[in-house]
Symmetry: C2
Subunit: 108 residues, 2 copies
C-alpha cells in the first residue's frame, strides 16, 4: 500500500496550522491548563490559579493566549469566569500527548 504524500504547498499550509497549534501547546502552563480543563470540564480562574500554582497575571495572560487561539471558551457567572476546552483539533493532540506522557507507567 502506497503512502500518499501531500503536494508541497498543501504540506506547507498544513505544517503552518499544525505549528500554530503546537506552539500554543508548547508551554508548560498552557499545556497544564488545557489538560486540567479537559479533565475537569470547567473551572474558574481562581480555581486554576490554586490548582496549578500559577501566579495571577501570568495565568491571565496565558488564558488570553488560549482564548485568542480559540482553544477555550468562557462564561461569566457573577464575578467568576469559567473556562472550558473548546472541542476541536487541540483535544485530539492533547489526548495523544496525555497517552505518551501521562499514561499508565509514565508518571515517575
Amino acid at each position: 500500500m502506497r503512502v500518499k504524500t501531500l503536494n508541497p504547498s498543501a504540506m506547507h499550509r498544513a505544517a503552518d496550522s499544525a505549528c500554530g497549534l503546537m506552539k500554543t501547546l508548547a508551554h508548560p502552563d498552557r499545556l497544564m491548563l488545557l489538560c486540567q480543563l479537559a479533565h475537569t470540564g470547567e473551572m474558574t480562574v481562581g480555581e486554576l490559579e490554586e490548582r496549578l500554582d500559577i501566579h495571577q497575571p501570568t495565568l491571565s495572560q496565558q488564558l488570553t493566549v488560549l482564548r485568542d487561539e480559540k482553544l477555550v471558551d468562557t462564561r461569566r457567572e457573577g464575578k467568576y469566569i469559567y473556562y472550558r476546552v473548546r472541542p476541536g483539533a487541540a483535544l485530539a493532540l492533547l489526548e495523544a500527548v496525555y497517552r505518551e506522557f501521562c499514561g499508565p507507567g509514565k508518571n515517575r
Copy 2:
C-alpha cells in the same frame, strides 16, 4: 468512571517533557522534515533540501536540533548522510498531527 488526575509535581514533570517535544515540533521546517522522513523512511540532506525547498544552512541547523533532541538518526554513506526518524514518542504525536491536519478532506 472517575478520571485520575496526576499529582502536581508529576504533572509539572510530564508537562515539561511534553513541552520539550512540542517545542521541537512547533516549527514548520522541522515538522515537515519529520513528516517527510516518516513517510519516506530515509533521505539524504540534499534530497530533503530539494523536496522541502529549505536553504542549506537553515536545513542543517534544523537537522541539528532534531539530532540533539534525539528525534532522528543518521548514517553516512560516502559523501551522503541519510536521515531517518527515530522511533519514540515523537512518532505518536506526528501521527496525531497528521490525522488532524493532513488526513482525508483536510488538504484544501
